[in-house]
Symmetry: C2
Subunit: 443 residues, 2 copies
């Protein structure tokens, strides 16, 4: 007898924005066999100028907490849900739920509680439409006192809830805080709920359904119609995400990664597309596999350069320098070093706030010969499993940048074989990304 297949499916806000989208989601769900668990977001935008239900809920909260009349907005929210139910031909009564929300708002609204109601209501509605059980994450997703997810407690409680069931719908985005109140993840947190459901269900795959056919090889605001990525390893994803490529909430990776569960990013509006597979391991030397998996980057970095004669002979100099930066609560991205010089690349906004404190401490404690701050640096990561071991990759990369007349401010390669990170002037950023895309994807 074959093992029962287990699937976790997460649908984003645009996938559940109206009844037409609900119907698409329902047919996608019904194609699945075995046991499966659905995580639903709040209704998203139906068109470009539409408002997400979560934003309406925040507005409601803000009006209520500042003593203004929230009822018109709350009624709009209720009408959004009613129109979905009507469009699905359902006879669904929202009265008791909205009475509860209204009572909460009148008593003194909590921001996280309010924000969570979009997922709560939408998931209950989807569960009713599909005929599945609804699971309220308030009963099984737990946060610690410091606000981070209590992964093990959650996994145990959620695992118990799922184990007896064939199918269920779990509301995304929230759980219960250490103080017993509703607490949400940061925006996009339903991705995290999907990941912890996948882990707790011991799923074979975590399907993340959204409105694009996978992750793209470059930022579509910079590069015209970049290719989607067909397969990417967790490590490559982490590097691209860290550098700004957004497809999943950052924290959504770890629960499934540690459990070895692949993620499949799919398009609710084009379910026939294969989407992007995020896998624990992949064969970068397979036929047709590209050298580079993706390109991502961010503006907003600064460099602080410390020059001091014989610095390299001072054992502990770098540790003291980084300690000063850490003590100011600033984290750094790279530490390029020369002979007698060492730089630290930091996030400009973090650094700006602590700049004088850091510079003063460096001057006092390290007595540098020179201390130079450079701002407006953009970092670009070119990521590809095993790319560093392939002949000519660095040559192609730097030739592309040279041909595009891009000045290279920093290069960091060597800690992992899957990326080269280049620093350029912010004003050259878009040009550099386009040149790299051309070099690795259009040739």
């Amino acid at each position: 007898m074959a093992e029962t297949k287990i699937t976790a499916l997460k649908f984003g806000g645009s996938s559940l924005a109206d009844s037409a989208q609900f119907n698409k989601v329902a047919s996608i769900i019904r194609l699945h066999e075995g046991r499966f668990f659905v995580v639903a977001s709040a209704p998203g935008k139906r068109s470009k100028d539409d408002t997400k239900v979560t934003d309406m809920l925040y507005k409601c909260h803000d009006l209520a907490s500042s003593g203004h009349d929230f009822m018109p907005v709350l009624s709009d929210i209720r009408r959004r849900f009613e129109s979905i139910a009507e469009g699905l031909g359902m006879d669904y009564d929202f009265s008791s739920d909205f009475d509860t929300i209204r009572a909460h708002l009148e008593k003194g609204p909590e921001r996280d509680y309010m924000a969570s109601r979009g997922e709560y209501l939408n998931s209950k509605l989807l569960a009713a439409f599909m005929g599945y059980d609804f699971i309220d994450p308030a009963t099984c997703v737990f946060f610690r006192e410091d606000g981070t997810l209590d992964a093990e407690a959650t996994n145990n409680a959620l695992g118990k809830q799922l184990s007896g069931r064939q199918h269920a719908v779990v509301a995304g985005f929230y759980g219960t805080g250490a103080d017993g109140r509703i607490k949400t993840f940061s925006r996009g947190g339903s991705d995290v709920t999907g990941a912890i459901v996948a882990r707790a269900a011991k799923a074979d795959v975590y399907e993340n359904w959204t409105d694009v056919s996978g992750m793209l090889t470059a930022d579509p605001r910079i590069v015209d119609s970049p290719e989607p990525i067909s397969e990417i390893s967790y490590r490559e994803l982490r590097e691209l995400s860290y550098m700004g490529a957004s497809v999943l909430h950052e924290d959504a990776v770890f629960p499934v990664r540690s459990a070895g569960i692949p993620i499949n990013i799919r398009n609710t509006n084009r379910p026939e597309d294969r989407g992007t597979w995020i896998v624990p391991h992949r064969d970068s030397m397979a036929d047709g596999s590209r050298v580079v998996t993706g390109i991502a980057g961010k503006k907003g970095f600064s460099s602080m350069r410390v020059e001091k004669a014989m610095l390299n002979n001072e054992v502990g100099f770098a540790a003291r320098l980084l300690d000063i930066i850490a003590a100011a609560g600033v984290s750094f991205e790279h530490v390029p070093s020369g002979i007698d010089t060492m730089s630290v690349i930091v996030d400009s906004s973090d650094f700006r706030a602590k700049r004088s404190e850091i510079l003063e401490n460096v001057r006092d404690r390290l007595a540098p010969d020179a201390l130079i701050v450079d701002t407006e640096i953009a970092l670009i990561a070119v990521v590809g499993l095993g790319m560093v071991y392939r002949k000519g990759v660095a040559a192609r990369l730097f030739s592309a940048l040279a041909d595009a007349d891009v000045n290279i401010r920093m290069i960091d390669q060597g800690s992992s074989e899957i990326n080269i990170i280049v620093g350029v002037d912010e004003s050259d950023y878009e040009k550099a990304v386009r040149a790299l895309y051309e070099a690795f994807f259009r040739l």
Copy 2:
């Protein structure tokens, strides 16, 4: 009235190896005008298979201190000096000097004292030959208790000795330690004496006379007849020297650099050659100026890579990592970092001795997901003032390495605009240096 020109001239061992070389040195010295001060080394090799006097002195010391008969070697040394004096037609009596040395050896020899006698005797001989005063650095070059040069005390004492004189010969290589005994610099330390003499004399130039027509653009053991460097800034020199290009003792740079005195490396056997000018500042955009000034490198590095999920979010992680390495007394060369991974490039021999201590501490205190040590890495520095701001330099560099089939293990660029440092497999080192030389000097 024009200012009197002041020159410091240092002659290496091969420049003073025999009477023919002494005569060359004398004519070079006599071409100088104004005030000048000469620093002399011990007699070097007269031919490839010859022995340097300093090595003979060390041998003498070792024989004496292990209770063996040192007289045959001491007599050989005396004959070396006598043959120089004879060749110069001088009637010079070494008896009292050699009696003193013999008495010292019999009483219980000190290694540094013995090593210093080559410079002492050769400089006295040169002073007598030229008719100049001899200055014994035992009276004016001072070391601190920790063994480092006491630069200020030396500068004062030496300055006083020189100020009343037009010309003098100063013995290189040694001075007086904090304990009042003779103490030498490390091998090649006469270069340092030359530099401190130049500083103390407020010289206009420090001429360093040796047996090559300047510093070379690459290691001649790897590249066939590399070009000499005509002009190089102190900063470029420091980077090339640090990475193994040897022309001057490393510590010889700082005294003159801080005083803004240029160094001119000259060839005693080809005094007509312009040699290499080491200058405080130079115009890298001048006509005919090369993009790259020189290439140097070293084998013998290892990398320790630490992988840990969310490492970049752990403020202070790097400081703690480098602190462990500093606490083990190991200094590091580079810290390439990726996302969730950080490497430290260290000298293999330093690291080997502390490896288990460091790895254990990293495991205990940083709880990494993975900890990987790679050995047999060679580092290559491609150095050129302003090269990083010139278009296409990185492209040319990496294309050359790719065409030569060299795998790039690490790249570090960004802390100074004058170099790019590349890590390659030790087995690819020579091939890589040749490819880079071809790319930047033969095209």
